[in-house]
């Protein structure tokens, strides 16, 4: 059964009408400031009385350590990598996102299925399989995409955390060193994100602007979504 609130088919035991909360996804490549903005948004929403949870890519109890180990071994292939992400996502969906949406919470997702789509696509040139895999994902009420160009991104990453093996897509052998590979890999990701921005109507926010400007734009996109969504009384768990 394909339900309009789900991306494809998957979990037949969830009744979409029970998901009273709002799901807001913040997408964008590495180093665009997603987590900083999510932290600020959470505070902004909580002050207004909303119950808010955030959920982050590869942060599930079940999978976060496993994914770290797999990436440390450097020999994860396309299927394994995508299935590790999907398992992590499924665990967070069942244990964080769905309970929170049932209780009327606002869920802020730091990356969402589109990250998996982009990463799988640049490794496989096939969009069908990965989209089928994430068929069980609820469609967000809002997707904001923090867009950056690869030149600015490269500078930012060098100035802060530095480039690592996976952020540079070294498994794809796109360049001889981390820097070349990073630029080629991130360009491919941005290109795919741009295509998805049109296909899935993302709200594109220019991540090169100042943090204040970005935050205001994000708030501007979120407000209409919450228009008819009253804060949970006492911001506590009301039970499903």
């Amino acid at each position: 059964m394909v339900d309009a609130r789900f991306f494809g088919d998957g979990l037949t035991y969830i009744n979409p009408s029970e998901l009273k909360g709002k799901l807001i996804a913040i997408e964008g490549t590495d180093g665009v400031g997603r987590s900083t903005h999510i932290e600020l948004l959470q505070e902004w929403l909580e002050v207004q009385g909303y119950g808010v949870i955030t959920t982050g890519w590869t942060r599930s109890n079940l999978m976060s350590k496993t994914i770290e180990m797999a990436k440390a071994g450097n020999i994860v292939d396309r299927w394994s990598l995508s299935l590790l992400y999907a398992t992590d996502f499924a665990d967070r969906l069942e244990h964080q996102v769905i309970p929170a949406l049932r209780s009327g919470f606002v869920v802020l997702a730091d990356r969402y299925i589109y990250t998996a789509f982009a990463r799988d696509f640049v490794r496989s040139a096939d969009r069908t399989w990965i989209r089928d895999v994430f068929g069980f994902a609820p469609i967000p009420d809002l997707v904001c995409y923090l867009r950056i160009d690869v030149e600015t991104l490269a500078l930012r990453v060098i100035e802060t955390t530095g480039m690592n093996y996976w952020e540079s897509g070294m498994d794809l052998r796109l360049g001889t060193d981390l820097y070349d590979s990073f630029k080629k890999y991130q360009s491919l990701l941005i290109e795919e994100f741009d295509k998805m921005a049109i296909e899935f109507s993302f709200n594109v926010v220019d991540a090169r602007k100042s943090p204040e400007e970005i935050q205001n734009e994000l708030k501007g996109h979120i407000l209409p979504v919450l228009q008819n969504h009253k804060p949970v009384v006492g911001a506590g768990w009301t039970g499903a």
Binding site: D9, G10, T12, G73, W79, D132, G135
Partner: protein, 159 residues
């Protein structure tokens, strides 16, 4: 990771395959279409056997065996079917057997009567496998039994 021996022309014996997921996951509330799409990357086996036993036989074998009891998930205790382990196993595994029947039909698995004694089953399997392997040239590298065909290598953390 089953790929490496497969690509080198070895024979791969798989104890359970994607069909297990097609039966189990669907019983746990996953869409039958979804789970088939999920495993779209799996190589279709040259032969697939389904060892069929009535639920009562499965229960008595597991209770008489060295284990002496059911595991939590094989009894489907996560599904709140019954507080009693044996009863839960019976309900859960009966549903799985029904789902397996559909899978066997859909994918043309070879059904083995697993109530027969081991020798009889082996005889039949060997005949069937030999038929499939006709014309296949055996290849060997070493004659030792390998336990490892790939090795994980560590990378130093940057911290």
């Amino acid at each position: 990771m089953t790929f490496s021996p497969f690509k080198s022309w070895d024979i791969v014996l798989a104890d359970r395959y994607m069909y297990t997921a097609f039966a189990r996951d669907v019983i746990r509330g996953v869409s039958a279409q979804w789970v088939r799409k999920l495993y779209a990357f799996a190589i279709k086996p040259d032969m697939a056997f389904y060892f069929k036993v009535p639920i009562e036989v499965a229960i008595s074998r597991l209770l008489r065996g060295t284990r002496g009891q059911f595991k939590y998930y094989e009894a489907g205790m996560d599904m709140n079917l019954s507080p009693d382990l044996t009863q839960s196993f019976q309900i859960f595994q009966s549903r799985i057997l029904m789902e397996y029947d559909k899978v066997v039909e859909e994918f043309g698995l070879l059904t083995m009567d697993a109530t027969q004694d081991i020798e009889t089953q082996q005889e039949l399997m060997r005949t069937l496998v030999s038929d499939t392997l006709r014309g296949y040239k055996p290849k060997r590298g070493t004659y030792g039994r390998r336990t490892l065909f790939w090795r994980r290598f560590d990378v130093h953390k940057s911290e």
